[in-house]
Subunit: 249 residues, 2 copies
């Protein structure tokens, strides 16, 4: 199946599952990968052989769209063409290697990718995780911070978090929330002033301000409240409609 | 079961699942929550009733350790005691509300939590997601950026990502500036509902809604606009005063 070029993700880290047991978890990993734009899956000694119908079912079409998975007989072969490899592990190891969080690893991978490196993230099997020989083949370690009193991340979820962080690192330009105004546009100060002026006149007429002394402070507080809403021009029209209706109610 | 005090997470956002269908997904959500230190789960109209053995099985003990889940008959009741609520949705909506990523939402939630606010994150059911009425009850929207060519996140995975980001934000130490409410406190959803209910009644009396067909949409847009202002209880009192004055003007 020819691979469509994908503008978002020109190069991706390879995901490598070492001795995965359940086909369902391989499928869930593939699905999580493609959800976040990762496309290259490698398997080292999958317990139930390959291909695996349970993996296909669970992948919801992801395996087929990724062009399947490549199978290797040992991790050394599976990482032979890569420049930098990260081992995911929960336990502390007696090896001096940089330890990343998924977040910091994703940033490291993005910058290596942009420098033309090919990277991989290695996950151990469901029960045993990675053994020390496997970890020795990786330059770096990734540990997901979890609740120490309840850590039960499964293989598919661990792949999901790494794939997610990888895509976020690529998108990071827009970190802050933005208001989605849809078809309307933010109201200008002039339009807002028009509304405030009318509102205050109506409030004066209705005897809202108890004394002239409190009037400026109260009026400012009302403005502050509406200003925080970052109104669109459409919404200011709605507010004008509301004023008209309330006078008739 | 007495809840152990947890140093990491003194206050947590509440996770609210609206009309969840599969018990397995509720269990997976609970497990993902506790993996990252969240402990308060609320359900609105779970399809198969509650408690649900499939949910217990899939939660791997998380539901029991969290003290179960509370069940509500509508979302308004489930969020009544919360100050700020986030709706997770994939589709674009025609409501002007801040749109967060999981990452930026988690930071927003952490800073509100530190300011004493109680927050919630709302997830729709597996098939339909949240409807517009539900989203109108939420001040903010969270959208998970996924591969537009393959987006198949399930409920458990969506909860996992939000819970994960929430814990990361807490570990991140860098709190964002939060709104300074001075001596007053943020209005709860219940107080806001009281105001919206009165406003809509007065608008009905004033003939504001041209037709009964446009009424729900227009009412939602009005709520969205006030919700964005993040009103204090003091300000809601001011708005009640404004309504009273306008009727007399």
């Amino acid at each position: 199946m020819p691979q469509k070029p994908d503008v978002l993700v020109p190069f991706c880290p390879v995901i490598i599952l070492v001795k995965p047991q359940m086909g369902e978890n391989i499928g869930a990993a593939a699905r999580a990968m493609l959800n976040f734009g990762l496309r290259e899956l490698r398997l080292v000694e999958p317990r139930d052989g390959w291909p695996n119908p349970s993996a296909d079912d669970m992948s919801a079409g992801a395996l087929e769209r990724m062009g399947g998975a490549a199978v290797f007989s040992c991790l050394a072969d599976a990482v032979a063409d890569l420049h930098t490899v990260y081992a995911t592990t929960a336990r502390r190891r007696d090896m001096v290697k940089p330890v990343f969080t998924p977040h910091s690893a994703a940033r490291d991978i993005q910058s290596r990718t942009q420098a033309g490196q090919k990277t991989g993230i290695v996950f151990g099997g469901e029960r045993a995780g990675l053994d020390n020989e496997d970890i020795a083949l990786c330059q770096n370690i990734i540990t997901v911070p979890v609740n120490p009193e309840f850590s039960s991340l499964n293989l598919g979820q661990a792949v999901l978090l790494l794939a997610y962080e990888w895509m976020q690192a690529g998108l990071d330009a827009q970190a802050l929330p933005s208001l989605d105004y849809g078809k309307s546009t933010p109201a200008t100060q002039e339009i807002l002033e028009g509304f405030f002026g009318r509102l205050e006149a109506e409030l004066d007429a209705g005897g809202f301000f108890r004394t002239q002394e409190v009037r400026p402070t109260t009026a400012r507080n009302i403005r502050a409240m509406f200003a925080r809403a970052e109104l669109s021009d459409q919404e200011v029209s709605t507010l004008h409609g509301i004023l008209t209706a309330l006078r008739k109610s």
